[in-house]
Symmetry: C2
């Protein structure tokens, strides 16, 4: 039996099990992560955020002088991912709630496998300062039997942002199957965002994440969408409100970083008792 | 903010949030149950099991002399269900683990909305003594484009048990869409079990639950299947091993009750902090 403390939290419906392990003593394995994230036999989440001091983890000790805490992020299937925007927001909420860090006016520095990022803590919202999206050329996705033209965006992971849908079309679209896409453009698959305009610099999106299907929220997808909306308005910087099925995100490109803002809450804390897994 | 103690447990992959509330003080509402069971924004489960003294709940006070504890069971959508076989098993595991009851050789009596049931506690397994299934006539389900003939079974809820599938056919069957059925036989819908024989009185089943889709386990479905297997062997009583996607259940009909046996585990305990809901 593996016994460990945990918290569960989410940002706009993207949910995480947080494992506090300040001194890096927990023997986290892909099998244990998968057992924790199993929604029926475990606690259940989209991924695990281990809270460990940068100095105590080999992947982050080089950042220890700059960022006290390392976000050791794992996907629900036990694979490791470099970055997760909603993960940074929930991780920060946990640190502040648990008294392990306090809000830093300049942004709290956090070590991740994609380098040091910063998080700003507001009353209700937490903002994650991510790398600005890089815009690419056009490509096409096939969803629900219809072709949608879009823009390739690189947020560290690959996106195709398809704007211009009517509100009705966006609401009724069947996203239960993976979109078709140009594999020569996206050799490792793609996250596809379908976008409808609500007002000036305010859009609503649905997203199909590669490997996960339709999800309630995708932080990098919201950033990709904001970059395309600003470009289409002739702007390099600015703020875009992005409604996702799980809530509202606000994305600000300021020339240096892409700030992803929105609610992040801890909904439970406790002790897990899981069968030993190999 | 609603703050409450909870445990999470499962029986063969059928999972529950357990809310200890011995004195019946918790203002449980459909909206709060749905918030607790939300798999991304809450804790997540197939249903809630409130642990309350029979004497302290209006639906169970008449059983107080016979059964100290009432299993106040709610479905994930906030509706109330009378009975849940895997729920009884997980509820009993919680009572024993928490020291609120001890194993009773004659079976621990528990109040439910379907009356008083008994639970037997083994080393690894817990058995729930349920009402014996009542066998009906033939009917037909259409699954994955194929018609399957089966037997109508009433376990308090309606089932159609279709036996005789090959192991390969059972494994490859597409159960992602609701089966077609005869609405004149099942005016309130039906749970459909597809069954393949493994050995004598040992079967493997998959189940499509009305309202839920394919699930990892269905306690009443396993009981229904066992009753059909025994009848086909010319028996009224006996034991049938039923492998479900979430594990192994063993069903024994002894003439008086239908005993549903299998593993039941508590995987986490903690405190939930949920937004106030109405």
């Amino acid at each position: 039996m593996v016994r460990m403390e945990f918290a569960k939290g989410h940002g706009t419906g993207n949910d995480f099990v947080i494992l506090p392990d300040p001194d890096g003593r927990l023997a986290l394995t892909p099998a244990l992560v998968a057992a924790v994230c199993d929604r029926r036999r475990g606690i259940g989440a989209d991924g695990v955020l281990r809270v460990v001091r940068s100095a105590k983890h080999p992947d982050a000790s080089g950042y220890a002088g700059e960022a006290e805490w390392f976000m050791d992020y794992w996907n629900a299937d036990g694979s490791i991912a470099e970055m997760c925007g909603n993960g940074v927001r929930v991780f920060t909420r946990y640190l502040v709630d648990a008294g392990l860090a306090s809000a830093d006016p300049g942004g709290l520095p956090l070590a991740t496998r994609a380098g040091v990022v910063r998080a700003r803590v507001g009353e209700q919202e937490i903002s994650a300062g991510l790398a600005p999206p890089r815009l690419g050329g056009p490509s096409t996705a096939t969803v629900d039997g219809q072709d949608f033209s879009g823009t390739v965006v690189d947020c560290g992971n690959p996106h195709l942002v398809c704007t211009g849908l009517s509100g009705d079309r966006l609401s009724t679209l069947d996203l239960s199957r993976p979109p078709g896409y140009d594999a020569s453009v996206f050799p490792s698959g793609v996250n596809v965002e379908l976008v409808s305009t609500v007002a000036e610099r305010h859009v609503r999106m649905r997203v199909h994440e590669r490997g996960s299907g339709e999800t309630l929220s995708c932080g990098s997808g919201a950033c990709a969408v904001a970059a395309v909306v600003l470009r289409d308005a002739g702007l390099d910087t600015g703020t875009v409100t992005v409604d996702v099925p799980g809530g509202r995100l606000v994305v600000t490109l300021d020339g240096d970083a892409c700030w992803l803002a929105g609610p992040a809450v801890i909904v439970a804390t406790g002790t897990a008792h899981l069968p030993t897994v190999r």
